[in-house]
Amino acid sequence: MKKGIIAFVLIIGSMAAMAQGKLVANYFDDLADNEAYTKVSVSSKMFSLFTELEAGSEAEKEFLKAVSKLKGLKIIAADSIPNSASMYKKAINDVNKAGYEELMSVQDAEENMKFSIKEKNGVIEELLMVAGGKKRFVLLSLYGEIDLKNISKIAQAMKVEGLQNLSKLDESSN
């Protein structure tokens, strides 16, 4: 009986882990052969290497600890596509359908951007960013155990255009 419960928990746990990043993974498959889109995938193995880095300050230690809890990052980006508006609309639609909770949106004349999260028991398991400009489209998924306090620092370190907007979350929480 005990073994059965453990097996059940493991199956549910692995299913939850597989579900993370699934939406972006579908876009990866659909756009695999489309050279207009750059696809980037960073696995948990890569993030685990951060645990081996030497941290100088307390802030660096905290940052590396936050990064080591990440399980993956997937980015799909295009700088010059004619259908960026429809791609943005489709992605936002898919995000809403998949039950993500909106965290923040940024709109200006050049670009629209939306951040959404999936949360479980107070822990953010996935952060999604969808950005759409005149010819630009970005879909990003960061998954694992995400600490909002450190997310803007992670965003700065990753140098992903648009992700720096997350620093506004820090400003609004202060």
Binding site: L31, N34, E35, A36, Y37, T38, K39, V40, S41, V42, S43, K45, M46, L49, E52, L53, E54, G56, A78, D79
Partner: protein
């Protein structure tokens, strides 16, 4: 005398069996890219330290555990056919795990690896300045030294030696 010979044979056999799987992994990249048109570079910890003209300490610590690094500068036919991507599939089939994959547009990067008791192994490909390279690395990399190495590079203490 016979006992000693038997012992030596056993040790040689053990060493051979220990090294054989590693050589088999190395052979995968050789089979894929040694066509006669490629440029091949083989580096060892000693040669990697040798190119560190400024004697950067962090760099030496980073490469000290590397047993072997094979780098193939690929020919135009291999690049055009994108057959270098086979290296990722071949090693993933051997139980290697994905670290980073980036493709599409001008970017083509793959880093896959396998950590085990005998030696860590990494393989992949990358494109830089119009050239595409495939690589295989065996040994351990002192990842913890990377931040201090990057700081040194930013301070220009460490001169670039690569073309």
């Amino acid at each position: 005398m016979k006992a000693v010979t038997n012992k030596v044979t056993l040790i040689a056999l053990f060493l051979g069996l220990s090294i054989q799987p590693l050589l088999a992994q190395e052979q995968i990249i050789k089979d894929l890219f040694e066509t006669g048109n490629e440029k091949k570079y083989a580096f060892y910890a000693s040669t990697l330290r040798m190119v560190n003209l400024t004697k950067n300490k962090e760099y030496n610590e980073l490469v000290n555990g590397i047993d072997k690094l094979l780098v193939y500068s690929l020919d135009s036919a291999t690049i055009a056919s994108k057959s270098y991507k086979k290296v990722a599939d071949a090693y993933l089939n051997e139980g290697f795990e994905e670290y980073i994959m980036a493709f599409g547009g001008d970017i083509n990067i793959a880093l896959i690896g396998k950590e085990n008791k005998r030696a860590n192994e990494f393989a992949g490909y990358t494109n830089m300045d119009g050239n595409t390279f495939a690589f295989y690395l065996r040994g351990s990399i002192a990842w913890e030294k990377i931040p201090s190495l990057l700081k040194s590079i930013r301070k220009e203490e460490f001169l670039t030696f690569l073309p």
